[in-house]
Symmetry: C2
Subunit: 378 residues, 2 copies
């Protein structure tokens, strides 16, 4: 199996990740609940993971790293926690449903005002329209760092200048960029960063985080036990407890912590070079095959994702043929990115998404190019 | 280390649980996202876990098993999803903050009406007061199955008769009972059951579930990607997708699935007999030590939890002495159960909680009894 579905989840995890999870499962108590060695071991490992994630993403305070189940939970926490009646928010058509559906719901239920930045036919966001979308009650810009469909990288520097000029909050969905692009919240003016652990960070499923700029407050999504201030009727005000209710996935967090070590040891730059090289090789190979249509803008900064179609074939049929006849795993269909498909005109056909990771090889890329050429010739 | 903090999390997991997690981490794609073998393997494993949990808890439909991060998330999903303005709900003073805080918040924010069943000095709920608490707008009774402080088992049959007679919903927090007491939702008239995977079920942290009676609908807590019906602006109506947004913790769920196999192989009855025998031995041993005060009612059905105090010693100091001088892990303080501590008069002192699991031994129990006798004699 050649695995090119890394934008859904990375399949190959560094061996130390599973080792850390197993060790955690054999020796961890409940973190933050009790002071005996098993609890303290769990609490220490979780705190260490917070410190590592804060450093990795340029978040000033480790106690502002809030662990979640996945990026979706982090995004729900950010959007429901931040936005309400009377607010206006600017987002983009490149968003995943993990951003769109919470925003739509806030629109329906509490009258949130929402505007979306459109994209051109290559999926590039038309950021020059930002000033036109500004309203007196605009509170935040919410955007994905890399489109999970086209692989286009969002020009966050342009957005940062806009949010800084108008005192808006900047909320970034880094589900596709964490573990690939360097991210420094302070330097990049990001107020809330939402990440998942199981994609580019190569950690276990069931892990994710919301990282919060200092002095920013969010209404909790869930409330419950925190192990501290148990007599309060509301969630304690202190972070991370304010936003973390119930037992954390400390087993998974231990794995994520080991994954961050792996990324640091290897260096993000080396990972990116490898992924960029594979992506360029694949793009060069497929874009000249007759009948192949590649989406996205490869003349600008681009992530390790290439989506394409063969003629008018249904993307699901192409993906099935790749899996069954060539042992190549891709992802067809809508990718939970309805508005970007509409911008590209692919809402009926879908698209076949190839997404790469550090562990993929040039041989795998070449095999896939040959497979596509053969299918296109049929 | 003698580990008696199993009500916080079980420390000893069956070896097959970690094995299943490792296997999942080495071979699973993203469940429900794509149709290649790695995704299908993940989706199949998650579906299998749903079927096992539905059978284990007498839930009619496997697709009404909704995976969550922990019991707290399941309870938040149940309470925020079910209750709103104009509703009245009856709960109990035995509840954990995972129930109390969401209810208090609904009280503050949307005017939910809340009444709590009080307890006597042994922590037994005064269920004879139920009829007095009934109002025309009463929608549900929400209660814990076993108090995480006293270990008292709630008389769910009395509550079921009440909810059935008045067409109320019954929501049960089974965080302490799942994996110890047999639970059959249909037979016991439970409409929503909330469980965690990492306590009595002996699964990994980061797993839990909400099980829903057929035909009951909940407003989603989180919204986002579902891998199906991506062009809908709202969460799809079908379960489990309606309540599950984002990538599931399929690695953890694989471990939980293996844990359920272990429980079924061993039989819940055998587990309960062992835990009951250890609990009785411990209770008999400590209750006659001068200066020891044991909480809870041991003349009625009782779970594998014994909380006590030594004279007027702070519970934290006793727990620390047990950990440092005897290598015994317990949990002192408030246990996120503020109202039960107030009912027992222990809100200042807290209590030292001993909680047992199948893997504890009589020797461990006897060591702990001797340790308490020595500390009490000081």
């Amino acid at each position: 199996m050649i695995y090119f579905d890394n934008a859904a989840t990375t399949l190959v995890k560094p061996p130390r990740v599973a080792e850390a999870v197993v060790q955690a499962m054999q020796s961890m108590g409940n973190c933050g609940r009790g002071s005996h060695p098993c609890s303290r071991f769990a609490a220490g490992a979780v705190d260490e993971a917070r410190i590592k994630l804060a450093a990795f993403f340029g978040c000033k305070r480790a106690d502002h790293v809030v662990f979640t189940q996945n990026a979706t939970q982090a995004l729900n926490m950010a959007l429901y926690g931040l936005l309400g009646t009377g607010d206006h928010v600017i987002s983009t058509v490149a968003e995943h449903n993990s951003v769109l559906r919470p925003l739509y719901r806030l629109q329906r239920e509490v009258g949130l005002e929402l505007d979306l930045i459109p994209a051109d036919e290559k999926g590039t966001l038309r950021l020059e329209l930002l000033p036109k979308l500004l309203k007196p009650n605009t509170k935040a810009v919410v955007c994905t760092h890399i489109s999970n469909l086209t692989g286009n990288i969002t020009d966050l520097e342009t957005i940062r200048r806009f949010t800084a000029a108008h005192q808006l909050l900047l909320v970034v969905d880094a589900a596709q960029s964490a573990g690939y692009l360097p991210i420094h919240m302070e330097q990049m003016g990001i107020d809330i960063l939402c990440v998942t652990g199981h994609k580019g960070l190569m950690g276990p499923q069931g892990t994710g985080a919301l990282l919060l700029r200092e002095e920013l407050d969010l209404r909790p999504l869930c409330t419950g036990g925190t192990g501290v201030q148990s007599y309060l009727r509301e969630q304690p005000a202190q972070l991370p407890e304010h936003l973390e209710a119930g037992t954390l996935n400390a087993h998974g967090i231990a794995g994520l912590s080991a994954a961050i070590d792996y990324l640091n040891d290897l260096s993000l730059e080396r990972i990116r070079q490898q992924e960029d090289s594979l992506t360029a090789r694949f793009y060069e190979g497929v874009q000249k095959i007759p009948g192949v249509r590649v989406y996205g803008d490869f003349s600008r900064p681009h992530g390790p994702i290439v989506s394409l179609n063969l003629g008018s074939w249904d993307s699901g049929a192409v993906s099935d043929a790749l899996a069954e006849d060539y042992g190549i795993a891709t992802r067809p269909g809508a990718h939970c990115a309805p508005l970007m498909h509409m911008a590209l005109g692919t809402e009926v056909q879908g698209a076949v998404r190839f997404s790469f990771c550090y562990h993929n090889t040039e041989e795998e890329i070449d095999t896939a190019i040959c497979a596509i050429a053969q299918l296109a010739a049929e």
